[in-house]
Amino acid sequence: MVLTLALRNLFHDRIRLIVTLVGILFSIVLVAVQLGLYLGAKRMIVDMIDNAKGDIWITAFGAKSFEEGGVILTPRERHAALATPGVKAVVPLVVSFAEWRKPGGGSTNSVLVGTDPEDGGLKPWGVVEGEAASMAAPDAVLVDRSYLTDLGITGMGATAQIEQGRVRVRALTDGIRSFTQAPYVFTTANRARALLGIPRENSTFFLVQLQPRANIEAVRADLKSRLSGTEVLTKTEFRNRSLDQWLFSTGAGVALIGGAILGLIVGIVIVAQTLYSSTKDHLNEFATLRALGSSSGYIIKVILAQAAFSAILGYILGMSIAMVVVAFSVQTALPILMTPALAVFLFAITFGMCAISAVSAIVKVTKIDPAMVFSR
């Protein structure tokens, strides 16, 4: 009967139910979008690092992120790394912000990624037109098709200029987004050096691949001792550093998380207010229950069941709308990511939010004087 009573109480006042559900829905959509944006941003920030095949990253001292590698490394560091026991390969990567000059006039910022796919370090993924190997062709670059408009080009074969050098789009990828909104442009390491005016053999990062069964910590310690003025980071450390830089140093992540918290607070306040007023309206019924001998635990169960039903209904509605928003965001520059883990988390926080909201109502009913049934 607990569930029956809870459901009937909930549906008894349709207007209040709608207000409650709108509150939860609004909250869920807001939290889903904010956290989805956060996850989407996180993925964009670390996508390059995750797709690079390397156990250790050698960076210039103070490198902030993948896009901001800082001072250029020289062949000396590369040779020292190659001579380190346990190291199988050291793959150079050239990465830097660069000016993309649109064929129709004007320019935009881009992130030039110089990599030689045959080295097995970082290979463009999600190629939907052309081939990654075509990067070796003269003047070739690869861009993501979602940035064609930003880059002022129409597609395959389009030409543009990076810094002072001419480039031609030889392949298109799908799904390689940039958190900085400066599109990634792939080309070979040597062409990247040429376009950026960097001396031959110099690089932004060295991606270290280890021999099988090599101890990563031991190799890392060895590399540190051999390479002065550089940093030797594990993949995880470099990921975290990039995330710190873009999400927290810039405040973007804080804003997204703050938005999510705000959504939660709004949800809690709305649901608490409606649950409390519903409880107040049914106070005489709860007093009757108490007079009939029900324990306070029984009444609390009714209120919690009301909260749980509100949570389930609100979650279903909220997630339905959130999924529509997610679907619309897929092709945008800032896609919202909805993962199964986020969906489960949202379900949990919806329940948590409704449980917290029930507290004021529970406090109210535990103070019920069953004698009020006689004063009606």
Binding site: L292, G293, V373
Partner: protein
């Protein structure tokens, strides 16, 4: 043969409010409810009827004195202990029925059994029987809004009855009813009181209820001032024992 005492109140004093606003609502009330009897508690407004009913119903605890129900004392019991006592021994019938508007008649009765932790199936059967016993077998699925006042009060009686309590306490059970329905409800309570394991007490202003009573207890100004015991024939009031008690204020 002495009647079995189901509920007993001894020297009950009840203070309501605090400080300067404190009122002594009951000033030393002693009363027993016997099995197989319908007792009417009558008195003017403000005489302490409802306070006494709340204390006998284990909703309030006395400031002084003691109440025992089914041999169990209320002394030292907190809200949960009192609720447990009510659950096991007491059924209530309220003036305004206090039915749950969102539940139908059957569900209203089942709810009273559910709070007792009764299994769903058994509760269903018992609730149906209780409603049949009060003549509402044809109204099981009706919601309170679709029932007449008399029918609602009969659902309330069925709800009180379903848990097989040893005491049924009714607060002005006919106050919201017309004469015909009031008589029907009193007849029902009178019938329930014939059960030798149960006592029924009804607080009332309504003199039309008197013919149904086995005993009439009068309360004034927080004191029991009279008790009339009636013969076996409930149709004719014949006082066989009238005691006028005036107790000193406690």
């Amino acid at each position: 043969m002495t009647a079995q005492i189901i509920l007993s109140a001894k020297g009950v004093v009840k203070d309501l409010g605090h400080g300067a606003g404190m009122v002594r609502a009951l000033k030393g009330v002693s009363l027993t409810l016997n099995a197989g009897e319908l007792t009417l508690l009558m008195g003017p407004s403000g005489s302490g009827k409802t306070t006494l009913l709340s204390i006998l119903g284990c909703i309030l605890t006395p400031t002084l004195g003691n109440v025992t129900v089914g041999g169990e004392s209320v002394k030292g019991l907190g809200p949960e202990g009192l609720a447990d006592l009510r659950r096991r021994h007491i059924g209530f019938v309220f003036q305004s029925y206090n039915l749950f508007p969102t539940l139908n008649a059957l569900e209203n009765v089942r709810l009273a059994l559910d709070v007792r932790g009764m299994h769903r199936q058994e509760a269903h059967v018992r609730a149906e029987k209780a409603l049949r016993d009060v003549g509402l077998s044809h109204r099981l699925r009706n919601y309170p809004r679709n029932l007449s006042g008399g029918e609602q009060q009969r659902v309330a009686v069925a709800r009180a009855l379903a848990g097989t309590p040893s005491v049924i306490l009714a607060d002005e059970p006919t106050a919201a009813l017309d004469s015909e329905n009031g008589q029907a409800v009193m007849a029902l309570l009178s019938q329930l009181a014939k059960d030798k394991s149960r006592a029924v007490l009804a607080v009332t202003h309504d003199s039309r209820t008197i013919p149904f009573a086995d005993r009439i207890v009068r309360i004034e100004d927080g004191l029991i001032v009279g008790e009339e015991r009636r013969t076996e024939s409930r149709e004719n009031i014949s006082k066989i024992d009238v005691t006028r008690k005036r107790k000193a204020h406690v």
